[in-house]
């Protein structure tokens, strides 16, 4: 996939968030309920994007595991919303069909037991 040179600008355009004001305090990683299960916590994703290390940033699972609970956004002392940044990254990658949720690979158990609310949310976030 072609990576835009102005990736940070693009994120700003999509999410309204300016990554450059992040000063790496780590609050987002601290409050994230998923960070201990991510390969890189949200703070690392922020600095990778900030420094333009885009390829490495996009190779993390961080933004795929974000459940949009908005804890990071509520507690960021710089008023950045990492969950919105992650959504912007997903939106950019999901233009490529390879990244999208593959319904035929979901187990019957998931399709029959997860409430509609969950399936619809996942379809919105991963398609």
């Amino acid at each position: 996939m072609q990576i835009d040179a102005n990736f940070v600008e693009k994120i700003k355009e999509i999410s309204g968030q300016d990554i450059r004001v992040c000063y790496q305090c780590g609050m987002c990683s601290g409050v994230c309920p998923m960070s201990h299960l991510m390969d890189h916590p949200p703070r690392i994703l922020m600095i990778l994007l900030q420094r333009g290390v885009i390829k490495e940033a996009l190779a993390t699972r961080t933004f795929w595991l974000c459940a949009s609970c908005l804890k990071c956004s509520c507690y960021c002392p710089r008023g950045v919303s990492p969950s919105q940044v992650m959504e912007a990254v997903r939106v950019i990658l999901l233009k490529d069909a390879n990244y999208r949720l593959k319904y035929d690979q979901l187990s019957t158990e998931i399709l029959t037991t997860v409430p509609l609310q969950g399936l619809i949310s996942a379809s919105r976030k991963y398609f």
């Binding site: 309204g16 309920p33 459940a67 997860v114």
Partner: protein
């Protein structure tokens, strides 16, 4: 008290009991919840991107139609519907450009956030009051040790929170007025993993498990929620634990309306007491 009632996609299938218990509770409390003839899914998640209003068309239409019916407010039960509708309301109230985009795309009328989006919990707190509720209680929830579980959607972001987003009391106050013991535990506002359970089940289970363990360690024998997806995640992880640990005793996950129904003496719900067992407290 008459309000428009928006059930949302999950309350007629997965969480029927949430819908039915709420309807009966509302009847006893004198809240008339009128469901519109036509409604559609709210979208389940509010878009976090700011350059696309399409995901808001559906909740906007729901709100616009409620206004056209002369509604005094829109009641929701599901936390996700509450969050999406209230955020959409907040957005059209404060962002004229987006409001105009939505109005001109739908071409069904003008709407600027006039209809208050209310959760049933708020109606009970603000319009009925806990003192009046206590007078209607037939069965006190004595012996129940409830861990109130807020999750994310009722509290974040702060502009749509139904209570203080850092220290909410609304569930605690409700259950205290029903005579139950209410527990303080650190995971009451931590995400249950939401839709991650669809795409990365293993990881979702680990997140939900921490919530369960925290509640049980603090002595809970039931966890009360208002979100069908939290209900699923907190139950599903326990089913997985049972598969490998046959001695594990599940902690009951329950909708707050079911507990209200028990307390108000609705006989179809009296059996709930029997299904609540006391899980083994690992901290002793």
């Amino acid at each position: 008290m008459e309000y428009t009632y928006f059930p949302g996609c999950t309350l007629y299938n997965y969480s029927k009991v949430f819908n039915e218990s709420a309807q009966e509770v509302a009847k006893v409390l004198g809240i008339n919840m009128v469901e519109p003839d036509l409604w559609q899914c709210c979208g389940a998640v509010f878009p976090l991107v700011t350059n696309n209003v399409m995901p808001m068309v559906s909740p906007f239409r729901t709100l616009l139609r409620a206004k056209q019916k002369g509604s005094q407010g829109l009641i929701t039960l599901c936390s996700a519907c509450y969050n999406v509708l209230k955020r959409t309301n907040h957005l059209v109230k404060h962002d004229v450009d987006k409001r105009r985009q939505l109005e001109s795309f739908l071409a069904e009328g003008e709407y600027g956030g006039e209809i208050p989006v209310l959760h049933l919990l708020e109606i009970i707190r603000d319009k009925i009051g806990y003192a009046a509720l206590e007078e209607k209680i037939k069965v006190t929830l004595d012996g129940l040790r409830i861990a109130p579980y807020y999750g994310c959607l009722l509290l974040r972001p702060a502009e749509v929170a139904l209570d203080n987003p850092d220290n909410p009391r609304i569930l605690e106050d409700l259950f205290t007025s029903l005579g139950a013991e209410v527990l303080q535990y650190p995971y009451r506002m931590v995400c249950c993993s939401a839709y991650i359970s669809v795409v990365a089940e293993e990881i979702a289970n680990q997140v939900a498990k921490r919530v369960i363990e925290s509640a049980v360690e603090h002595g809970a024998n039931c966890i009360a929620t208002s979100c069908p997806l939290c209900f699923y995640n907190l139950n599903h992880v326990q089913e997985k634990i049972v598969e490998s640990d046959t001695l594990y005793r599940k902690v009951t996950v329950i909708y707050f309306t079911q507990l209200l129904a028990v307390a108000l003496g609705l006989k179809d719900y009296a059996h709930i007491f029997d299904s609540i067992n006391t899980p083994i407290n690992k901290s002793f």
